[in-house]
C-alpha cells in the first residue's frame, strides 16, 4: 500500500543528519511493548490431523489432559470453539487464539455445516464494528479471524463438493489457506497431480484463496513465486519426536522410514510455518482489517443507511458516512419540498387568478347592466320631462287661450251690458 499522493508535496534533500531514520526502531519498540494478537481458525473433517498440525506449528501441546480439546466423538452439529493462549518468544508476546470447528463435515448430511463458521466470523466482525463505533472507545480487543486453515482430505482426486461450497462461501470473509492434510499418504507425484487438480478447480470456481502480496524486492518475489507453485501446501504434523541420523526431529515413524515434518522434501510444513508465522502473519492481519472487515462494515452500514431508500440510485455513492448520507437526503428532501411548494404555489396562484378574473368579469357585467339600466332610466326620465314640458306647454297655451276667450267673453258681456244699459235709456 502507498499513502495516497496529495497534490503539492515537494521532494527535499537532507543536507545532514536529522534522525527520523530512527522511526522504525520507535515503531518496533512500541509494538513489542503493546504485544501482538492473532486468531487462527482450523476447519476440516475429524481425523485430518488439525490439532496435531497446530501443535507442530507452535511447538507446543495446545490440548492436554488439563485442557482437553474438542472431543473426537462425532458431533450432531458443528461447534465453534476457541482457545486463547499467551506465548512469549524473544521478548515478544503473542496472544494466540485458536478456533476449532469440531463436527465440520462429519455428519451424514452436511448441508449448511459452514453456517456456524460464517456466523462466528460475522459475530467477531460485528463485535469489532460495535467496539470501534462506540463514542467512548477504550479497549478494542481484536478477535477477528485472521486466517483460516482449511484441511483437504488427501483423496488424490480433487476437491469434494463440501470443500468447494465452504471455500466459496468464506473466501470473502476470511483469508483461506487450503492445506492438503496427511500429505504422507501420497507420493510426490500423486501429490503434485492432486495439487494441480485442486488449483484448477479453485480457479474454475473463482475461489479467492489468500494471495501473497507483491513486493518490490526481486529476491522476495522469486521466493514468493516458488511458493505459489507449491500451492496448496501439503502438510504433515506430529506430536512425537524421533531420532533420525543423530538429530531429534518431529516425525511420523513408519516401518519403511520416518516422514519428517520439517523436511521440505517430505512435505510443505516448513513453508507453511515460515509463511504463516515468520513472514506473513502481519499481512494476514492487514488483509483481514483492510479488506474482509471493511467489506463486512460497508455492507452493514449500507444496509442501515439505505434502508427504505432506492438502492439502485445509490450504488455509486458509498463514499459517505451514514450521517452524511442522511444530510444529503435531507438536502434532497428540502429541494423536493421547495419544488412541491413552488408547484402548489403556482396552482394556487392560478386558481386565485381564475377566481379573481371571474369576479372581475361578473363585476364588469353587473356594472355594465347597471349602466345600461341607468341610461335606460335617464332616457325615460328625459322622455317624461319632454312629455311633461309638452303637456305644460299645451296647457299653458290652452289656458292662455282660455283666458283670452274668457277675456273676450268678459269684454263682450261688458259691452253687451253697456249696450243694454244704453238701450234701456
Amino acid at each position: 500500500y502507498r499513502p495516497s499522493r496529495r497534490s503539492s508535496s515537494q521532494q527535499k534533500n537532507l543536507e545532514g543528519y536529522v534522525g527520523f531514520a530512527n522511526l522504525p526502531n520507535q515503531v518496533y519498540r512500541k509494538s513489542v511493548k503493546r504485544g501482538f494478537e492473532f486468531t487462527l481458525m482450523v476447519v476440516g473433517e475429524s481425523g485430518l490431523g488439525k490439532s496435531t498440525l497446530i501443535n507442530s506449528l507452535f511447538l507446543t501441546d495446545l490440548y492436554s489432559p488439563e485442557y482437553p480439546g474438542p472431543s473426537h466423538r462425532i458431533k450432531k452439529t458443528v461447534q465453534v470453539e476457541q482457545s486463547k493462549v499467551l506465548v512469549k518468544e524473544g521478548g515478544v508476546q503473542l496472544l494466540l487464539t485458536i478456533v476449532d470447528t469440531p463436527g465440520f463435515g462429519d455428519a451424514v448430511d452436511n448441508s449448511n455445516c459452514w453456517q456456524p463458521v460464517i456466523d462466528y466470523i460475522d459475530n467477531k466482525f460485528e463485535d469489532y464494528l460495535n467496539a470501534e463505533s462506540r463514542v467512548n472507545r477504550r479497549q478494542m480487543p481484536d478477535n477477528r479471524v485472521q486466517c483460516c486453515l482449511y484441511f483437504i482430505a488427501p483423496s488424490g482426486h480433487g476437491l469434494k463438493p463440501l470443500d468447494i461450497e465452504f471455500m466459496k462461501r468464506l473466501h470473502e470473509k476470511v483469508n483461506i489457506i487450503p492445506l492438503i492434510a496427511k500429505a504422507d499418504t501420497m507420493t510426490p507425484e500423486e501429490c503434485q497431480q492432486f495439487k494441480r487438480q485442486i488449483m484448477r478447480e479453485i480457479q474454475e470456481h473463482k475461489i479467492k484463496i489468500y494471495e501473497f502480496p507483491e513486493t518490490d524486492d526481486e529476491e522476495e518475489m522469486k521466493f514468493i513465486r516458488k511458493i505459489k507453485d507449491r500451492l496448496p501446501l501439503a502438510v504433515v504434523g506430529s506430536n512425537t519426536i524421533i531420532e533420525v541420523n543423530g538429530k531429534r526431529v518431529r516425525g511420523r515413524q513408519y516401518p519403511w522410514g520416518v516422514a519428517e515434518v520439517e523436511n521440505s522434501e517430505h512435505c510443505d510444513f516448513t513453508i507453511l510455518r515460515n509463511m504463516l508465522i515468520r513472514t506473513h502473519m502481519q499481512d494476514l492481519k492487514d488483509v483481514t482489517n483492510n479488506v474482509h472487515y471493511e467489506n463486512y462494515r460497508s455492507r452493514k452500514l449500507a444496509a442501515v443507511t439505505y434502508n427504505g431508500v432506492d438502492n439502485n440510485k445509490n450504488k455509486g455513492q458509498l463514499t459517505k458516512s451514514p450521517l452524511a448520507q442522511m444530510e444529503e437526503e435531507r438536502r434532497d428532501h428540502v429541494t423536493k419540498m421547495k419544488k412541491m411548494e413552488q408547484e402548489m404555489e403556482q396552482v394556487f396562484e392560478m386558481k386565485v387568478k381564475e377566481k379573481l378574473l371571474k369576479l372581475r368579469d361578473s363585476e364588469a357585467e353587473l356594472q355594465r347592466r347597471h349602466e345600461q339600466m341607468k341610461k335606460n332610466l335617464e332616457a325615460q326620465h328625459r322622455e317624461l320631462e319632454e312629455k311633461r314640458r309638452q303637456h305644460e306647454d299645451e296647457r299653458a297655451n290652452w289656458e292662455a287661450q282660455q283666458r283670452i276667450v274668457e277675456q273676450q267673453k268678459l269684454d263682450l258681456s261688458r259691452t253687451l251690458e253697456k249696450n243694454k244699459k244704453k238701450k234701456i235709456f
Binding site: 499513502p3 501482538f36 508465522i277 443507511t305 394556487f348
Partner: protein, 428 residues
Amino acid sequence: MASSDVARQLDKNIRPLNLAGHVGFDSLPDQLVNKSICQGFCFNILCIGETGIGKSTLMDTLFNTNFENFESSHFEPQVKLRAQTYDLQESNVRLRLTVVNTVGFGDQMNKQESYQPVVDYIDRQFESYLQEELKIKRSLHNYHDSRVHACLYFISPSGHSLKSLDLVTMKKLDSKVNIIPVIAKADTISKSELHKFKIKIMSELVSNGVQIYQFPIDDETVAKVNTSMNGHLPFAVVGSTEEVMLGTKMVKARQYPWGIVQVENESHCDFMKLREMLICVNMEDLREQTHTRHYELYRRCKLEEMGFKDTDPECKPVSLQETYEAKRQEFLLELQRREDEMRQMFVQRVKEKEAELKEAERELQSRFEQLKRLHADEKATLEDKKKALEDDQVSFSKRRAAAQLLQGQSLTANGKKDKDRKNDDMTN
C-alpha cells in the same frame, strides 16, 4: 486501529503456554516495521510564534534542509496558517512532513481571537479524519493523515515570564495537540537568566493548568533519557542555516563579535535535545498520542454533539446499528413531519383565500343589490312621475273637454242670443 495492550487481557481465561522450540513469531515486530517502512511515514508539525521569532529557521535547521520560506509582514489583519508538505528520505525511511506556520501571530492590536484560526485548523484536520472514518466505503490505511502531531510553541526570549497571549493560546490548545514549548532565539539570554526563565515558565504553565507534552516514561528502554529531558523543558533553541568555520569543520552557527554560537553545541543551547526528543526518540509517540488521546477526545465530543450515545435511556448498551436505525427513523419522521406541515400550511392558505374571495363576492353582490334597490327606487319615482303626468294629462283633457263643451254650449247660447239680438235689432 488502537488495540489494547495484550497484557491487560490476561484475566480472561487465557493461559500461558510454553514453546518447545523456536517458532519464529518473534519476527512479528520486524514484519510490522517492514510494512510501515514500505508504506512510508507521515508527520505534521505546527509552529506557533510571533513574526520573526525564528520558526522557519528552526525548521530548516532541525531538518537540515531549505523549506520554502515566505517573509511575512507585521501587518496581517488576522492570523493565518500556511501549510507546506515535503517528502524527505533518510536512509531507507521515507517521511512525508507537513510544516504549518502561523502568519501574523501576535501582530494585531487586539489579540483576543488570535488563537481561533489555530484551533480551527487543528479541528479541521480531526474532522477530515473523522469523516473518512465514518464513511461507508473508506480507506483509512491509504489516508494521508494531516492531523497535527506536534505543536512547537515559540516563546519570546524576554527573560521574564510568559505573555498572556502565550498562556491563553496554550490553554486553548493543550487538549487538542501535543504542545512542546521552546524558548526562541536563546542566544539573547544569559545562562543564569535562562535558568530562572525556564523555572518561571514551567511554574506559570502549572499554575494556569496548561498541559504540555511530557516525554513518555513508561517504556524502560527510553524512560531514563525521557525523564531527564522532561527536566530541561522548555528547550532553549537557536536556529541557523549558516555555517561558520570552527577549527577544521564547518558548523551551523551564528557569528557575533563576541563569539560564535554553535547550534549543535549542547552547552550553547538545547537544539540537540529538541532534535533528539522530537525526532529520534518520540516521534512515534507523538503520533500515537495524537491519535489515541487528542483525536479520540475530539471524536467523542463530536459524536456526542450529533446525539450519539453508547447506552440508551435505560442504560442498556446500544449497538451501532441500533443507533443508526434510530437516527434514521427519527430522520424519516422529521421529513414526514415537514411535508405534512407544508401541506397543512397550504390547506390553511387555500381556506383563507377562499374565504377572502367569498367575502369579495358577497360584497360585490350586496353592492349590486344596493344599486338594484336604488334603481328600483328611481324607477318607482319615475313611475310616480309618469302617473302624475298622466293624471295631469287626463285632468287637463277633462278640463279642456268640459271647457269646450261649455264653450260650445255658450256659443250656441250666444249664437242664439246673438241671433235673438240680431233679430231684435232687426225688429227694432
